[in-house]
């Protein structure tokens, strides 16, 4: 009898572990079920025009999500364009050039960027970055590039450009630290072979390290993009919250996440609420696909542990 107790405890422990792992399945399953179930009225009422419609009018009960899909894509792509060269450049410096006494504190500083809460970036973006953009960068863009619809004025400070800039700062650590890990996983023999052939440091990096780690670096970028698409608070605070769609990056807009934050509390009709939940569903599906693709790419390049700890 005395020997039975540890065995029962053993079974209990294993059962508990299994149960909590199973809970993960239930939670994701529950989330999908709920998002689909609660957004049915919106899909049924508007059909495909829920995604392609440009009008979002709570009073007339017409809901088309295109302006917010556009706002999300525009701000995220802008963030990617800004963060990509900086993130990869910094990763090259940290993985290939910097001596350890520079590399360790700098890598830590860049990871600290990821630790600062989103709402603090929003505060900084709203009260520091947006006024600065309005008084310096945006008048310049308007004056010299204003003939393009992308940079047509008037400039407000808050808008797609400010959102893209804040997002760029927020996804930089993801891009940088994941691609640094991928570069560090490139075997030294590859570099040595290239250097022995007489290549310069840059040629070694450009022609060996980057191509060798290509799929992992692409994965890092996709991971960053996924983060940008789902980012909520910072974007809500700096994107300016406009319901109409404008091609100009200087104009206020709304992203999928920010429209949900802005209108969820005021949504009284069932259709309005279900339209907002429909947007959450679209957002969920997009980030799910991107994350699946990115993790596949990063895993393949840098082993099973890369990319997972960096969120």
């Amino acid at each position: 009898m005395a020997k039975r107790l540890p065995l029962i405890r053993d079974r209990l422990f294993a059962g508990l572990a299994f149960f909590f792992a199973f809970l993960m399945l239930l939670l994701i399953g529950g989330m999908v079920y709920f998002l689909v179930d609660a957004s049915v009225p919106a899909w049924r009422t508007f059909g495909p025009s829920f995604v392609t419609g440009q009008r979002w009018d709570a009073i007339r009960q017409v809901f088309g999500a295109l302006p917010f899909i556009y706002g999300t894509l525009a701000s995220s792509l802008l963030a990617l364009i800004l963060a990509l060269p900086l993130g990869i450049g910094a990763a090259i410096f940290l993985a290939e050039l910097a001596p350890p006494w520079v590399r360790v504190p700098l890598s830590y500083l860049i990871e600290l960027l990821a630790a600062v809460p989103s709402v603090v970036y929003g505060l900084w973006g709203l009260l520091v970055l947006a006024p600065a953009l309005r008084s310096t960068v945006e008048p310049w863009l308007e004056q010299y590039l204003g003939f393009l619809p992308l940079f047509r004025g008037p400039a407000f400070g808050v808008g797609v450009l400010a959102a893209g800039a804040v997002l760029a700062i927020m996804i930089l650590p993801t891009i940088c630290s994941v691609s640094r890990e991928v570069m560090l996983a490139v075997p030294d023999s590859q570099r040595e072979a290239m250097l022995a052939l007489g290549a310069t440091r840059w040629e070694t990096t450009y022609k060996v390290v980057l191509p060798y780690g290509r799929s992992g670096i692409i994965g890092a970028v996709v991971l960053g993009l996924g983060r940008a698409l789902g980012e909520t608070m910072a974007v809500t605070m700096v994107i300016g919250n406009s319901l109409s769609m404008s091609a100009s990056l200087l104009h206020p807009a709304n992203s999928m996440a920010s429209i949900i934050v802005n209108e969820f509390a005021e949504a009284v009709s069932e259709l309005h609420l279900s339209a907002l939940i429909g947007i959450a569903l679209i957002l969920f599906v997009i980030t799910l696909l991107l994350n699946a693709v990115a993790r596949g790419l990063v895993r393949g390049a840098a082993g099973p542990s890369a990319g997972a700890r960096r969120e």
Partner: protein
Amino acid sequence: MADYRRRRLISRLGLGLCVAATGLAVLPLFSVLFYVLARGIGALDLAFFTQMPKPVGEPGGGIANAIVGSLVMVGLGSAMGIPVGIMAGVYLAEYGRGRFAQAVRFLTDVFMGVPSVVIGVFLYAVLVVSAGGFSALAGAVSLALIIIPLATRTTDEMLRLVPASLREASLALGATKARTIVSVVLRSASGGVLTGVMLALARAAGETAPLLFTALSSRHWSLSLGEPMASLPVYIYTYAISPFADWQSQAWGAALVLVVLVLVLNLLARIASRGHYRY
């Protein structure tokens, strides 16, 4: 010779650009930290930590309820989320085989990528609507859902780093599998697991969007879990987007408190990871 010079020049140029990129990448961090410190420090005094928010127009007042609210909800959220996350990680690393474990591992990754606003919307419908109102309990659950996938993933990874010989030695001495996991595997990976848990806590402490849909906020002193509860991130959000200068200055003060809290948690996590490979 000229060709080599050209190549050397290109090399220096390319590498110089990488150095410049690194500088530019770190610059925003300094700017954010500088402004949070410079504008936040002015708002801090004893009253800021001990008093309640004042109505618009009245100067002074504090964020005592938001600080306590954040501590309560992060504490409760981690009390729920950390055990679940660690046990799920134990399952993946020690018991999980085959397709089910693969699926759970994949879903944990997916879970980490779910935008926090989606988690907020989900819990709003599941907990808030059915309970008839916003509550601190729902807020704590939303933070638990942020913590769970992070804790699961780190535990899984850290346990898989523990050499099999340790497990075999323990089992050979007659310990049960559960005893082996608790006393040998988890203990030798404790530094790494602790690091992951601290980082998850730091992340939860700064989350805003899920709280907006669950705990909302409150201008009153409340320790009741069934009522709306104030928190630092939501306080920063509401005060930052207000048009009043003294509210914005209080938002900077609250941001300073939050950033210090998060950075201290990160620092502790880093210290914990020093004892990472103890076997």
